[in-house]
Symmetry: C2
Subunit: 662 residues, 2 copies
């Protein structure tokens, strides 16, 4: 008998050689039905693989990344089996599971090609094989024999892969007539796969090396239920419509010029209004919390980054340093704002009475990304962080954490991210020597984060060993309107920079102490946040945020004068309006404004000019009746105030203050 | 007889060999008294030098830079004469006039030194010689004889200077016993110099070359009247107090860290508020004039600057280009924003209906300056321009110019620069081939600028040949509170970039045309403008602009709670306040707030808390009585509105609109 420890810590005795599937059945029939793989002492195994020794286990289902990964890995083999059936002589490279689905790199037999037209046939063949419930058999072969097998089969890619492996036995999986070099894990049989969709076909160099053979990469996804596939495809369709690159182009928010440089966004007038509104919003919020804004240069002497450690860490992957004309000084684009803020901290002696010192900056940083990695506003080479660094005493950490959580939750609320989770990342308690900073401070900080999160009513998971070497952190993960997950609003404790820059404050005891730093950025960066926001809202921004709030639509040229009076009044009230001067029918003007997501349309004609009113239309809602322009200004201001929900801010503040007193 | 043409174009006949002094006497005795030098066909001559041929002349007085320059140049010789008397064997390098005064580089005889303690003796000796009214005699010597003279005298510096001159006759000036190699011009005699002050002593390498002999540089200044010296020294004293570096440090507005890099300002919290207020002020103003803001990256591909021509022009004097890690792309810090804005113009086809397109950006640019040239915020390596580029048709130039003039004048008015002049810089009509752009467009542009300036009521001087090769311009020169001149608000026409980037718009004729660009920056840069503003206001900024507007001063700890209620109300009204929590006497709190130039102090004690009022004190003005906080908010808002003088804006607008209709 062996002892199996379950995730909740309970222990069970089972005969040696028991499998994950059998354990799952023993726990509950429902779990057995949903099980896809098993974690054994931290490794992911086949459900059918015998367990020979005592072990800690966890059954993985579709809800776990490990479960999905196993499912898609088997699906890649399934696709390979189908391809081998349809294209005899096909050669295989690698076929992994990826974040959403799987792919396989193949070399097609001479004279054959695959295009999207063939997807349907391949999918049908895959489902046919799947329905036969072929088990995925794991077995071992001596390296030499494995080489012979593939040499005989004429598959140079697998031969190369095996040659790179260590001597000894090599793992293979068999799926019907298809055998593959593979470490696993896999599903018990192909019958789990009920829905399959091939998504894309692309060229890929063998081992990513442009000097080697070009293979064909076929992407697919699969699900345990047909309905899930249907939903996924709908989501993909919607995501395509909401692609921030597409909407950004249509609404003229931002633009990339290859002559300026790849991955360097230029914010167009409308995008700049959006961006400035975000900056203004967060600035005001942060001012309430005692943040002080600073502005620092976009470059720094290389030595600054040598001191901070960023140079050693990033030099290979950064825009390279540059010199003065005489070559006597070396500078770098700043990859982060921290060293500059640290220098401001150091500009004069600091006392405990000065702390917490909260320095905020909308700081533009530059980090090199390979051109293949660039993607719209989410992966760029230059971006503006809504950065801040809080310098505080270890005792102030918890309270500061709560205030930052309050800001982050308020931001989520205002932008409509209702669905979020939080993760606390702590030290690996068994490897404390990997981390910088005093033991006592780590304990204090970890406790402070956990308590702060709990007291602010956050649902958190705690992950051991996920902390950075320089401090524990709290991460938020939000789901957007399409259910996709985005990481937003990391709060990171840092013992490293205060150490490296020898920061000090004079304590109440008149002795020097080292402060702690907190890094935090609720938006992350303006670029990434705007990208997420565009995809979350499909470009329909809240009224307070949207670049153009009001379209003034004169029914004919006769009313342009009146329209301009209306414009002037809105402009004086700092409401962003424009006049549609075009000589078009009013219906057309309304339609165009609707398409451009202008929240309000003010129609002005004979009646309105006579009565000194405007006819108000709300985008997506239709007619709101006639009113004076003053009434309209009250209406729109009221809506904007509600959108920024100051009540929720008050609520969050109360939670924090109450927990403080408890 | 020769014909002498005066600046007003009138002509007079004089005998050959007449001197400037004689002509001045002939024109008016007063002019003769004030004359310091004469311009002869564009060259500056001694007043005593005979004129042998027909010439255009202009008599220079103290009011002309040429007059001052001559005065100070002679003063340098005077100082040299005094030094030679006091330090026999002293050797002389060069001794020019500079912007304010003059200096001489000398090598002292072995065993002697000069310090500030010796200034008085030197000054007295100078005045003694001056009173003797030594004439400055100009004469010529053969190069070989000149060399012999200085070799014999044992002055290696002059020998080196003469060796570098072309063969032939060399000009010398004699002043009593002191003879100097010199091109002139000089005053008729030393008696003109009535007041002298030595200002500073410094080390200077011979010919600025650090590998050569180190000389002693003695700086001085001189005046035709003792009163002028007294005033100048008072001004220097006041300027020292107002030095923006000193006030910037005292008010904690900005900070330079040598670890971040020389000449790279970091804006501290108070400075950032100031900076953001300036940005907000100009943004709102520009929005009224139809500008659209954009945000572009701080770097650009090197090729962009090759296309723009900036690379060829500035590469030797710039931060050097830098590469991606793979070295396959070269980038540069942007030295100006224009190419980025041009790329935005080019992002889509433009029609004449889209013009004028006014793209504005508070764009931070980086330009290398040698470390010796750096000076506070006025000479830096990174600065933020309040930049904008107007793309328009040639026909729109005049109207756009007027609007820009309107903005510039409005800015001068708001910041209290009452005393300004404007200069129109046109082509050299005799060298038209030096300039880019069609003849017809130049004529149109020059006419447009002159008319725009006149119609806006500007007093302008017109300078031929002062235009940039790419277009004519209008410069403003303001005088600050100390009478010092600053150039602010250049408006520059540009035919070059549209040409280089092949910009086009489709005209009403359906054919492609080339637009014109206007560059303009009313502040110049935020850094330089803040420096000027600090020195102009001595750090007493207008209420709307100043970082901290209100100090709330509780009389004792008992009233902190009430003080915080007051703070909350001010904060909600977006008025920038702080509470002086210190346990100090109220008199001390008031004094400290006064010193820090906080415009308003609100004193809160027993009576105020009971009556729900505040006792208001205006900085520099004293008690303003008690009022409710709501009344105070009205009061301060009213003052801020007046400071921003919207009436003046309206006035300027009327001038422009009326001139448009005329």
């Amino acid at each position: 008998m062996i002892t199996i420890t379950l995730p909740d810590g309970s222990k069970k005795q089972y005969p040696k050689g028991i499998t994950g599937l059998e354990i799952a059945k023993d726990i509950s029939p429902r779990l057995a039905k949903e099980a896809l793989a098993i974690g054994v002492n931290g490794q992911v195994w086949d459900l059918t693989r015998p367990i020979e020794n005592d072990a800690q286990i966890k059954i993985y289902t579709w809800d776990d990344p490990e479960g999905k990964h196993t499912f898609w890995h088997t699906s890649a083999h399934l696709m390979a089996a189908a391809l081998e059936k349809l294209y005899p002589g096909i050669k295989f490279g690698i076929g992994p599971a990826i974040e959403n689905g799987f792919y396989y790199d193949v070399e097609l037999p001479e004279g054959t090609t695959i295009s999207e037209k063939d997807f349907d046939t391949i999918e049908q063949t895959m489902l046919e094989i799947a329905r036969q419930k072929h088990p995925l058999k794991r077995y071992y072969i001596e390296k030499q024999k494995a080489l012979e097998y593939y040499k005989q089969k004429g598959d140079p890619y697998k031969v190369e892969l095996i040659n790179d492996l260590q001597d000894g036995e090599i793992t293979f999986y068999e799926l019907g007539e298809f055998t593959d070099l593979c470490r696993g894990p896999h599903l018990p049989h192909t019958g789990y796969i009920k829905a399959v969709k091939l998504l894309n076909i692309a060229a890929a160099y063998w081992r990513g090396d442009a000097s080697r053979q070009q293979l064909t990469r076929i992407y697919g996804i699969s699900f345990p239920k047909q309905k899930m596939l249907t939903e996924y495809l709908q989501m993909l369709e919607e995501a395509k419509k909401r692609d921030h690159r597409k909407i950004g182009r249509e609404l003229e928010l931002f633009y990339f010029s290859s002559r300026v440089g790849q991955g360097l966004p230029m914010w167009l007038p409308r995008g700049t209004v959006l961006r400035n509104n975000l900056i203004d919003f967060l600035s005001q919020l942060q001012r309430k919390y005692g943040y002080q804004q600073v502005v620092t240069p976009h470059i720094g002497n290389k030595n600054l980054y040598v001191t901070s450690g960023h140079y050693a860490k990033y030099k290979q992957h950064s825009f390279q340093p540059f010199t003065t004309p005489e070559g006597d000084e070396e500078y770098m684009l700043k990859p982060m704002n921290c060293p500059h803020h640290v220098e401001i901290y150091k500009m004069k002696p600091r006392s405990y009475k000065d702390l917490p010192l909260r320095l905020a900056e909308f700081g533009t940083v530059y980090r090199y990304e390979q051109s293949g990695e660039l993607h719209g506003l989410t992966r760029v080479r230059g971006f503006t962080q809504d950065d801040a660094h809080i310098f505080c005493t270890p005792d102030q950490l918890k309270d500061e954490f709560k205030k930052v959580i309050e800001i982050v939750l308020y931001v989520f609320e205002v932008f409509g991210f209702k669905d979020y989770t939080a993760q606390v990342s702590l030290r690996d308690p068994d490897n404390k020597e990997k981390y910088i900073g005093k033991d006592e401070n780590w304990e204090k900080a970890e406790k402070a984060i956990i308590e702060a999160a709990n007291e602010m009513g956050l649902k958190t998971t705690v992950e051991l060993g996920e902390a950075a070497f320089y401090g524990p952190k709290l991460d938020f993960m939000v789901r957007d309107a399409l259910g996709r997950k985005w990481q937003l609003g990391t709060i990171q404790v840092d013992y490293n920079l205060p150490e490296r820059f020898e920061l000090e404050y004079i304590g109440a005891d008149d002795k020097p102490h080292r402060p702690v730093m907190i890094h935090r950025a609720p938006f992350g960066s303006l670029e990434r946040f705007v990208a997420i926001l565009i995809e979350h809202t499909a470009g329909k921004f809240p009224v307070w945020l949207t670049p153009e709030q009001v379209a003034i639509l004169p029914i004919s040229d006769k009313f342009i004068n009146y329209a301009e009076q209306i414009y002037e009044k809105l402009d004086n009230a700092r409401i962003r309006a424009f006049i549609d001067y075009r000589n078009e029918k009013i219906g057309r003007k309304i339609r165009d404004a609707e398409v451009k997501h202008i929240p309000y349309m003010l129609i002005v004609g004979e009646k309105e000019a006579q009565n000194n009113t405007v006819s108000v239309r709300r985008q997506g809602q239709g007619d709101k009746g006639s009113m004076s322009i003053e009434q309209f200004i009250l209406l729109i201001n009221d809506e904007m105030n509600k959108e920024k929900i100051p009540e929720r801010l008050e609520e969050l503040r109360q939670i924090r203050l109450q927990s403080q007193n408890s």
